[in-house]
Structures are given as C-alpha cells and as structure tokens.
Symmetry: C2
Subunit: 457 residues, 2 copies
C-alpha cells in the first residue's frame, strides 16, 4: 500500500528554519502585548456554523469550512478571531473585569482562491480593549501597534480617521442615507484609483457631491501637504464645525505627542487620512491602517478601529451592559513575515540551539548527557549526537562536522576518552577551527561570548 504524501492546496508544512522564524516573531509580538498588560484567551477552532456566520451572507459564507459533525451538528472552522471573541464576550461577560484587554494568537481557515497567493490556513494576532469608550483606549491600541512593529525591527506609518466624523460630513452635505455605500466605495480608492472612484461616487450621489467627497478625503487632485492639525481643521470645518468626533482626533494627536517625549515621531508616523474608512459596517468610531515605512506598497499590515456593539448578536438583553464597545486590531502573521522577508529583515537562520556534543563513543552517551546538562543548566542549549560517525582516534569526526554545519550549529564539543574529566576540544564551525585542552568552564565562556555577540533576532 502506498499513499501519496501531499498537503492540501493553500495549506503548508513549516520546516524547522521557517517554523523557528515564525515562533521567534510570535514570541516578540506576544512579548509586546504582555508588556502592555494584555492577557491571552483561546477559543475552539470549531464552532456552531450559526454562530460564526452570524447575520451571514457574502464572501464569508462561500469561504467557510462548514460541515455536519458525527452528531449531525452544523459546524464550521473559525474564519477569523473577531466573531469567536464576540461570542466569547457574550458568554463570559460576568466572569470578565472591564475594561478587558485581551490578545488571541491563533490559526483561522478560509477556502480562499489560492491563485491570488492567499493561504487557506493562516495565523492572526488579535488584540482589543473592550468595555471602555475612552480616547485613551483608542490611543493605547495605536501605540501598541507601533511598539510591536518596532520590536520586529520595522518602522510604521499609522493612518487614522474617524467614521463618525465622516458620517457627520455626509450628513452635512445631505448624504446620510448613503453612508454605508459611500464608505465602502471610499475604502477601495487605493485599489481602484481616483477616476473610477469619482465615477462610482457620481453615480451614487451626483457629480457635485462626488467632488465634495473627493475634496474631503484629500483626493481632488490638489496635492495637499498638510500636517495632522491642518487636516483636522479642514475636515472639522467641512463637517460643520467642532464635534465630539473632531475632539477625539485632537486628543489622539495630543496623546501621541505627550507619549513620544524625547522619542518624538515625525509627521509621517501618525497621519490623519480622511480616506481611511475600513469597509466593514462593524466600525463606528476611530479607524486606522498601518503601513511599513520602507514598504508602503504592500498595503495595510495592521488595521482596526472602534466598534460600539461587539456582542449584541449573542446577547439577549439589549441594555447598556449588552452593548459592549471596544477598540481593536489584528496583525496577520503570514503577511508580516512576507513583508519582513522582502525587506531583508529576517535572518537567514534563527537557531534556538547553537551547540552539540559529538558522539566519539556511543557507550559514553550517558556521560555526554551529563556534560550537556552542565551547559543546559548554564542556559546554553546543547544537543547530543546519538551516532558514532567518523574516526574518533584522529579526532577527525568529519561526518559529524558536516551534520553540525548542515544543522546551522556554531559549536561542536568533542569530549575526550574520559568525557567528564579529560579536557575538551571545541570546534568553531563558523571558523572551521578547533581549540583543544579546554575545561567545561572555558568552553562555556567561549561559546557564550561569541554566540551572544552574533545572535540575530
């Protein structure tokens, strides 16, 4: 019997070099979230389809992995971490302390068209603050995006806007009723271009309104080099004067300046961009998109915003308690890795372990482990080769040198005939040189100094 070994289209195996990079990045992202006091949750991969589809319809329904389980339940694999979080919040709200700051890193599944380079299994890193309406919460999410991406070695430009202020403007020019359509059209402007957007808007609201809309979002052809404050003043006026929404944007700008201190961000790090709307009906307040300073062309790598009713669909009561508001965002790990790769910011190899003990005589394997244990206790990961290979007498363990190099190790420790008492030989696989006659302490000292000096990530 033979079964062809293959993976499903859009799914991937991760071999150690790729998986070590993924884990290193995830650990950095998680470390950043934790440093802000965010706490982790987890939810099932599989849920009732009814819960995941919610109001249903559209792309989601076509892409979701949905089936009947052995108990004939209508179930599906989660396609994002937001819907499960809404269900989670409704179910557990009495057990949570608000404001609640949580992160959730996990896989999601979508039957996407793989021709567009999309994967059907990918990892999302979500973070939200719920149960607070304050500008401070909006600001913290934006600040955490910046801190997290800086920790990955890349600087960002965050573009914000306020859906409520946009709606106020629409109301001011008499387009309130077409708010949802207009926001969706404007959201696609970066993809479809100004001309097509102008046409679509004209069809929707007339030529004159189309022109006003393009002027509001700063896409009317005049190349505005505005500061945050200038843009804010302009759109505040266009939307009928100061409002709680314009006030919130002003507050966010002030927080950013206050927080920066000596590490003041330049004008491009935090931009007010009235064309940012985020297509989803879901958002009601501040919205934002994040671009890599060195690679803006790949689009937003971390978007999000404020919503005012996270769990309503799953809550029986419709009082103030049920309408949980919040603000949140998500980093797509796979897209982030692709971006860092194009920028050359991913080291060729990330190793969790850089040392091995050669197997000179297999019967000494117990003592080799005792030796490795001394390294490990000193915080130096160390593997032990299990097989004799090469000629021990001449200390030319060529096959083991080659294996160690293939594995990307830096050091091979070659024990003597009495492994725990004889001096050690240390092979530097980078320099291809051996140093003989070393004690365990001397060996650790050399490994420690050079390994840490050259450690990437």
């Amino acid at each position: 019997m033979f079964i062809e070994p293959k993976v499903l289209k859009g799914f991937r195996d991760f071999l150690p070099p790729a998986e070590m990079i993924r884990r290193s990045l995830t650990e950095k992202i998680e470390g950043s979230f934790r440093s802000f006091g965010f706490v982790p949750i987890d939810t099932p991969a599989l849920e009732y389809a009814e819960i995941l589809l919610g109001k249903g319809g559209g792309e989601t329904e076509k892409q979701i992995y949905r089936f009947k389980d052995n108990g004939d339940r209508d179930v599906a694999l989660r396609f994002d971490l937001t819907v499960p979080f809404a269900r989670f919040t409704a179910l557990h709200q009495d057990e949570l302390s608000f404001p609640f700051k949580r992160y959730h890193i996990g896989k999601v599944w979508r039957g996407e068209n793989t021709q567009r380079g999309r994967y059907r299994e990918f990892t999302q890193c979500d973070f939200d603050i719920i149960g607070s309406d304050s500008a401070a919460a909006d600001f913290e999410i934006i600040l955490m995006i910046r801190a997290t991406l800086l920790s990955l070695g890349t600087d960002v430009s965050i573009r914000v806007n306020h859906r409520g202020l946009f709606n106020r403007f629409l109301s001011h020019i008499g387009l309130s009723e077409k708010s949802a359509e207009v926001l969706r059209v404007v959201d696609k402007i970066a993809k479809v271009g100004i001309d097509e957007t102008r046409q679509t808007l004209a069809g929707l609201a007339g030529d004159s309104n189309a022109q006003k809309l393009l002027a509001f979002i700063g896409a009317d052809g005049t190349d505005k080099k505005e500061t945050f404050e200038q843009t804010l003043n302009r759109i505040t006026e266009l939307s009928g004067g100061p409002s709680p929404e314009s006030e919130r944007l002003a507050l966010l700008r002030r927080f950013m300046l206050d927080a920066a201190g000596t590490d003041a961000p330049d004008d491009d790090s935090f931009i007010l961009d009235p064309s940012i709307t985020r297509g989803l009906d879901y958002y009601t307040g501040v919205v934002f998109e994040t671009f890599l300073r060195e690679l803006p062309g790949i689009g937003s790598i971390c978007s999000g915003g404020r919503y005012d009713n996270l769990a309503g669909l799953y809550s029986k009561s419709h009082g103030s308690k049920a309408a949980i508001s919040g603000v949140g965002s998500s980093i797509g790990l796979d897209r982030m890795i692709a971006a860092l790769e194009s920028l050359g910011k991913i080291p060729a190899a990330v190793g969790f372990c850089s040392a091995a003990i050669a197997c000179v005589r297999e019967e000494h394997s117990g003592m080799y482990q005792a030796l490795a244990d001394r390294f490990r206790r000193a915080g130096i990961p160390c593997e032990v080769f299990p097989d004799e290979a090469g000629s021990p007498d001449s200390k030319q363990l060529v096959k083991q040198y080659i294996l160690a190099e293939k594995k990307g190790l830096r050091w091979l420790v070659i024990p003597g005939g009495d492994p725990l008492h004889d001096p050690l030989t240390l092979r530097d696989l980078g320099a291809r040189q051996n140093r003989e006659g070393l004690s365990v302490e001397e060996t650790m000292k050399i490994m420690d100094s050079i390994t840490h000096q050259g450690a990437g990530m």
Copy 2:
C-alpha cells in the same frame, strides 16, 4: 436577531487565568525541548482524509472529523501529530538532516465520547528523534521526558521495556504467531486486572503459557522487589539468554547511571517493567510509560517508544532510505495540567503583568503611556487604565483599586498632576498600603524586588 452563545460539547474557551497557565506550562515544555536542541515544525490542521486514515479502521475512523471541502476533496482534521509527522517526513526527507530531532506542539481533534471526561479538542506536545537506531537516541528521549517534567515541578517514574525482547520470549515458548494479540492483552493488564488477563491469555495460549506469560511480566502473584538489573537478568534468561535487545536495555541502564552523576536517581525513577508493551503495532523496540511519583493512579502521562518504519506508508521506494526508524513520545498538555492541578502544583494565578498606572485624568493618557514606557523598557510589564474612576483629588481611586485587585495585579502607580515630573504614589494591592513621594526609579526598585521575590511558576 439573537443567537445563543455556546460552544460545542467537548470544546472549551480558555479565559485569561486558565490560558496564562496553559501558556506558562507550554513555554516551560518548549524551553526544555529547545535546551536539548530539538527544533519545531508545524503541519496543517486539515489534511486529505486518506492520508490521516492510512490503513484505516478501528476507533480512529469513528472519531475523526471528516468532510468534503468546497472543492469536493475528502478532508479531515488531524487526530494526532504522529500521522502528519510520518507524511511530513516522507514528503520532506530530502530537505532534512538526519538524525532529525523535532518537536511539535499543536491541537488535535477527536469526536470522543465526552461522558468519559474527554475533550474533543486538545493539545499534544510530541517529540521524536528519527534517522538514528542508537541506544543513545532511546536514552535521550527518556532523559528529556524526565527533565521536562522536573521543570514542571513534578518528579516521575519511567517504566521501560523492549518489545523485541518480549517477542524473543514469546518465540522461546512457541507463541511467536500470537505476538500481536498477546502484547495487546498484556497492555491492558493495569486496567482489567490479573485474573481477567490470566483467563484471556489462557484462552489464547493455554493455561501453562498463560502462567509463563504472567511470570515473565512479574504478575504471577509473587511480589518481586527486583532491581533493574535483577529484572533484566530474569527476563534475559526467560527469553533464551543474552541478545541485542537485552544488551540495549543494559546500555540504557548504564546511560542513566552515567548521566545522573551526583543527581543519582533512586530505584523507582527508572524501572524495567516487562508488562509495558504499548498496544500499538507501530512500536518495535524500546517502549516506555511515565508515571507521576505523587500521583501514579492517573496512569501514564507520557508514553512512547521506538519504531522502525515511520514513513513507509507514504514512501514509494522501499529501500533502507524509506524505512526511517526513530524513537519518540508525547505529552498530553490537558492531562498534564489536570494532574498538576490535583497535586496543587498550579499557582492560583499566573500573571504576566503585575502593575498598572491609574487614570487620574484621562487627558494625561499620553504622559501615562510615556511613564509606562519607562517601566516596560526596564522589563516591567505595565498596563495603563483608560478610564477616570474614583475621586482624583483625595487620591481615593477606589474603583481603580478594586479593578486592579480583580485583575490580580500587585501594584497600582498613581501619577501626580504633572505625571512625568511630580512624585508618584505606589499602592501595594497585596498589603493595601500606599507609599508616597517616590521617583520612577524608586518605584521600579520596590516593584522589582517584591515582584520577583514572590513570582510563582
């Protein structure tokens, strides 16, 4: 519209207190694997059903989540990490360096009967060395089990046996042909008891052979208090004298003594137990089970053994290259946590963050973040409360004290009117006492000393 928020039977949400414990334990387990030089891989949750079912039949087929995807492919959720690893090895063997030491921590799904307290989604932590036949590899897996469980604060007793030696004995008494059945019956002895096992064996092989089998496995009623060496001598003789299999067990014992050094294990930490057979046909060499010294009753929490043909089912060629041998084991995270809980070895709360900055005036939120940034840069995770609550004038921020206590924090930093220049007040939420007039440095010093002193996990 209202949708009842609920999770599927056998599936679980993890709220922050539980998830922080899960992550802390996973990080310890992973840290131990890495210290031995094992590297991570990952594979898809969803695979072709044909690949996961392999030769098919039995419990697996009934429990697997299997369905047709949108492209009408016959797919299924992985039910363990071993079968995907076999497929992975066949597919990528030219890209791997052997011996290959990998770990894989991930979720698996089985439609188990939940009445037995089983979950349908659970996490496994697998680790294997493949491409080495040596006793040193067998030993390393056993040593890593011990080191990993010690790092979780619990001591273990590891029971080993050799399937080949058992088969040699069966051959010696003329029962070769019934090997598979006998091994399966013996595997269940702890569950069904000696009397029923004797009857089943008698039915299978006659009264006299049943008696011999029970004598071999040490279950003939004579209470043998044997050392490892005594048991080895006895079963070596019963199986017709010294053999490569008895020699391997002797080598493992020697390695264990050599590796222990000053940290010598007592007789109960490493036991030769001829009744350990592991029911699966899969194993061909050394097999082992791991029991918690303080809670042996819950059964083996980490079992495994040596196999001689991992990827054969997925390999076209049947040469020596295709027949990849190896040795491996798996820790069930959920069962391990349940065991640690019964032993009281899980702290009531694991916190990743123990400090917050109170929100005295929301308009100062930018400066509060600048203050928090100083803590974070010093390695002290710190959250910032986003909402004013309580009376700032009297510094009686009672609501914020309560929130901080609910969150399990130890420290609440209360900034002054000029947050970056005025002295700070530090509330010790454990002692319910405030210390006033502190500089940032003094605040960090106090938090750091007491937090680290009392840190669990």
